[in-house]
Symmetry: C2
Subunit: 206 residues, 2 copies
């Protein structure tokens, strides 16, 4: 009897919330979680593997896929397209897998319109001061960029109400532990299982 069912786990939050670090640690500790591979039209960097880091596509292919509604979400950033291929995600979920997608707030809101079997986690900075520190620490950005990112992050906090869960990323280990709890609980969600009674009854006949 398999009582667990797959779903898409969206980890999202503003710039500086630490969603990249948290997602990376979560994946490294949970080998059974599948990383959602994005498609992009940008050129591969040295060492990047097609189908592992990204699905590398020509612009025409990408645009065809958008026309055919083959992305759960997509965006045009710095002259390149990025998107989440619907088929990859749904195939894994059909197999009963949990698929992790780390994405910005705008992308998460697109996903919410296009697909229902999703658990949305909003990652919060512990304080706004800490959020600013994290943005500053990236170091490569101008003061203007920092202010713009901070302002965007502040605005994006308004969208927490669209999510299922919030996790305060005070320490990465705590945030990962919280998300692991959420995953274990969501595996036990009744709404994702249509035949619990029959699974219990049929176990009599083993």
């Amino acid at each position: 009897m398999k009582l667990s069912q797959g779903f898409l786990l969206v980890i999202s939050g503003p710039s500086g919330s630490g969603k990249g670090t948290v997602s990376h640690k979560l994946l490294s500790q949970n080998q059974d979680i599948i990383f959602s591979v994005s498609a992009t039209t940008r050129r591969p960097r040295v060492g990047e593997i097609d189908g592992e880091n990204y699905f590398f596509l020509e612009e025409e292919e990408f645009k065809d896929m958008t026309q055919n509604n083959e992305f759960l979400e997509y965006a045009f950033v710095h002259n390149n397209y990025y998107g989440t291929p619907r088929k990859f995600v749904l195939d894994e979920i059909d197999k009963g897998e949990i698929v992790l997608l780390e994405i910005d707030v705008q992308g998460a809101l697109q996903i919410k319109k296009n697909y229902k079997n999703v658990v949305f986690v909003f990652l919060l900075p512990p304080t706004m001061d800490e959020l600013r520190n994290r943005i500053v620490k990236r170091g490569t950005e101008s003061q203007e960029d920092i202010e713009r990112r901070f302002k965007n992050a502040f605005e994006e906090l308004n969208f927490v109400g669209e999510y299922d869960y919030f996790v305060v990323n005070d320490k990465v280990e705590n945030a990962v532990q919280n998300i692991e709890n959420i995953i274990e609980a969501e595996k036990l969600r009744v709404k994702r299982h249509s035949d619990i009674k029959n699974k219990i009854i049929s176990k009599e006949e083993d």
Copy 2:
């Protein structure tokens, strides 16, 4: 900043699912969970304390309370009334506490109609054979009672769809661990918090 909010945790399931054992162990391991004290018109047994084991009421008091909608649910069993006082539960939840109510399926369905801030957990036996074993092992019942209980339990499995979570009670420790995960996840539910952004922002000013 307190980001956690209280809720009512209903642990329910058919006779033989082990909801009493699981609830008892959950409470003993989690001193911060509040046990919902029921009201009853039956006489106190030796050692039972009013307000701790039960709120012991006269029948007239109990009936007045039903008239005034002061129960989240109530039932008449073996010539006595039993009920869940609304005020006790709501006062604790207002303080931010998690209140545990262990109750049969009919009671849980009544709660669902009367109150919204609830997490419903349905406890399942691992197999129907095991369910029958557990009912038989009580030992004090006639064959007829056993068959009636088994038939009721079988019918009550149909109501699992009304619940939020299911937990298979194969081993008590596993079931308790699953419920602890559910509690930790539910503390992070966005829908129970209206002002997450302001709580984060105000932490700047500490």
